[in-house]
């Protein structure tokens, strides 16, 4: 919308405000550039936060601003909830925190779209022709909302609602309020999703075409809400990195759409950058799992995978060699290079500090230690890195998969802590395996492998791991944290 400069103060001049918005989004971009390295990242985040502050100030200066009491209430509630949550959350709980913050963002988007609809939904679809033909001008503005504004508003409402509910479900699963296993309607699932999507779209088109009914708008929000639930409920825990990235992209895009509808450049740029970021991450995660995004969203890796895994389990008549903490300690102590492969098991057991202690003990003995981290280890992109950083593991010991793999061949011992599918050689060797083709950490290349695991239960993909039957592999059964601490204690006595 075009706002007439009602006030004379230059602070409220629309051009001045637009410049503030431009400064704000420039700061966002500059801030994100800082995230390219650990030394500049903290400053980058703060630069982006300054950009946000400037954008908020610009908005509050706007001549149409009002209802200050409501603004204060809203901001106060948000601060009272957000600040303690962000301060207290444990690093292991970071995926659900991000899911939750993402969800409230999506929630804000669809609520704003709803309020906008209530404000001038009755003018959707009117005066369309005049505006689209390019003859529309400032004087005609009061006559109706341009069609494109209606389209972007409706898009924001649908995507925001999907993102809100989807993120809340993801939060529930990660927080273990909801079961992590896939919850599906079976074969009907995809049909139901499609129907919900079509219903939401149909309602949206109806609204843009000029159905001035709030009931249709609410119906659209409900369809989108059900869709958000229906899409995320069937997705298993191991696919969470993809889902969180995808929902992040959704919220970003819906924010950009809100910006298009409200003619606000800061919103457009910020939303779009988040959309791009979410899309890149989603792609990276899907590639790292050798799966297409549609197949993950269509759901039920658990479903098909478990069945195949069950048949695969019988094929292994091989024996599993189990070891003790004392033996593992000896093996590690006399190695010259050790690679630690952390997985979700380390996060669940909160073992990152114990792992760091073990590393220190090994380094004291002159053992060279590094960490090999698979892109989808854990429940969100980069999850393991955050945990290890929390435990003060130096950044330069963390190796990404492509850098880590060539090094396994000259590694004496690799210590796999609660990681499963990302080390499974079946991804390389067994074309019939559901994970065939997925890039893995090639721990089988090195001289010996110690796997810390609670039991022989297969991982989330439900597939038996051939690595465990390899003669050079020794299994150390137990909780990751206590097992690692025991090894450290044994090392101390050597």
């Amino acid at each position: 919308m075009i706002q007439l400069p009602l006030a004379t103060s230059f602070l409220q001049d629309q051009n001045f405000l637009d410049v503030l918005y431009i400064i704000a989004f420039a700061l966002f971009i500059q801030g994100l550039r800082g995230l390219a390295g650990p030394t500049t990242a903290v400053r980058g985040n703060r630069i982006a936060a300054v950009g946000m502050a400037i954008a908020v100030i610009a908005t509050l200066l706007s001549p149409n601003e009002g209802n200050w009491g409501l603004i204060v209430i809203g901001v106060a509630i948000g601060t009272a909830v957000g600040v303690p949550a962000a301060r207290r959350v444990k690093m292991t709980a970071m995926p659900q925190m991000v899911a939750l913050f993402n969800g409230v963002g999506g929630g804000a988007v669809f609520l704003i779209a709803w309020a906008e609809f209530r404000r001038h939904g009755s003018t959707y679809g009117s005066h369309t022709v005049t505006f689209v033909s390019g003859l529309g001008s400032l004087t005609l503005q009061g006559g109706g909302v341009p069609t494109y504004v209606a389209i972007f508003s409706v898009f924001a409402a649908i995507v925001g609602s999907v993102s809100f509910w989807g993120s809340n479900i993801a939060f529930g699963k990660l927080q273990e309020i909801l079961p992590g296993r896939p919850i599906t309607l079976g074969p009907a699932q995809q049909f139901v999703n499609l129907v919900l999507l079509l219903l939401a779209l149909a309602a949206g088109i109806d609204l843009v075409a000029g159905a001035h009914s709030e009931l249709i708008f609410i119906g659209m929000l409900i369809c989108a809400a059900l869709l958000g639930n229906a899409v995320v409920l069937p997705i298993g825990g191991a696919d969470m990195p993809v889902v969180i990235s995808l929902l992040n992209a959704f919220t970003g895009l819906s924010a950009a759409a809100t910006g298009m509808a409200l003619d606000n450049t800061a919103l457009i740029v910020a939303g779009m950058i988040v959309g791009a970021s979410g899309t890149i991450l989603t792609n990276l995660m899907a590639t790292a799992m050798n799966r297409s995004i549609p197949s993950i969203v269509a759901g039920g890796f658990g479903g098909g995978g478990v069945v195949e895994g069950a048949t695969g389990a019988g094929e292994h008549a091989g024996t599993v060699r189990s070891t003790s903490a004392a033996d593992a300690a000896i093996q590690l102590a006399y190695a010259s290079r050790v690679v630690i492969v952390p997985g979700y098991g380390m996060a669940v057991a909160q073992a990152q500090h114990a792992v760091r202690e073990l590393t220190k003990e090994l380094e004291k003995r002159g053992v060279e230690v590094s960490y090999a981290i698979h892109p989808v280890a854990g429940r969100m992109p980069g999850h393991m890195n955050v945990l290890l950083a929390e435990a003060d593991v130096p950044y330069d010991q963390l190796r990404e998969m492509d850098d880590a793999n060539p090094e396994f061949a000259r590694t004496d011992v690799s210590l796999v802590i609660g990681a499963n599918d990302v080390t499974n050689p079946a991804a390389k060797n067994t074309p019939s395996s559901p994970i065939y083709g997925m890039p893995i950490l090639e721990v089988a290349d090195n001289r010996s492998v110690i796997v810390i695991k609670r039991s022989m239960n297969p991982g989330f993909a439900g597939i038996e791991n051939e690595l465990y039957y390899d003669p050079k592999t020794a299994m150390l059964f137990g909780d990751a944290k206590s097992a690692v601490s025991e090894i450290t204690a044994e090392l101390g006595q050597l």
Partner: protein
């Protein structure tokens, strides 16, 4: 300004921002993907601006006021929480004051 040109200008900004986003984000290493995610998460909290703008125009519709206050609260949680939590995480990634030989120092100093 003519409306059609507002649309096209904004579309141009949208498209360019998409490309800028791809270029900038592609440079972020895997290691920093969680902070990236929570940082971009905080940035999309910018929808709070939408709430702030619309609430000024909300008029006297009580229901509108309620949903907008919720929207502003949600957006604020998103922004404030997102930036704080990202800051906390990134502080941990910061290279400690004594980087390469930190471990040697600790060896000598501790037990």
């Amino acid at each position: 300004m003519i409306l059609a040109s507002i649309l096209t200008t904004n579309l141009a900004i949208l498209v360019l921002a998409g490309f800028v986003g791809f270029v900038v984000i592609s440079k972020v290493p895997n290691t920093l993907h969680t902070p990236l995610m929570s940082g971009t998460n905080a940035i999309h909290g910018i929808v709070v601006l939408g709430g702030l703008l619309v609430v000024g125009l909300a008029g006297n519709d009580a229901f509108n006021k309620v949903i907008l206050v919720i929207a502003i609260a949600f957006g604020t949680i998103n922004v404030v929480g997102g930036f704080l939590v990202t800051d906390r995480m990134l502080e941990m990634f910061k290279t400690k004051p004594k980087p390469a030989n930190a471990d040697e120092n600790e060896k000598a100093g501790k037990s």
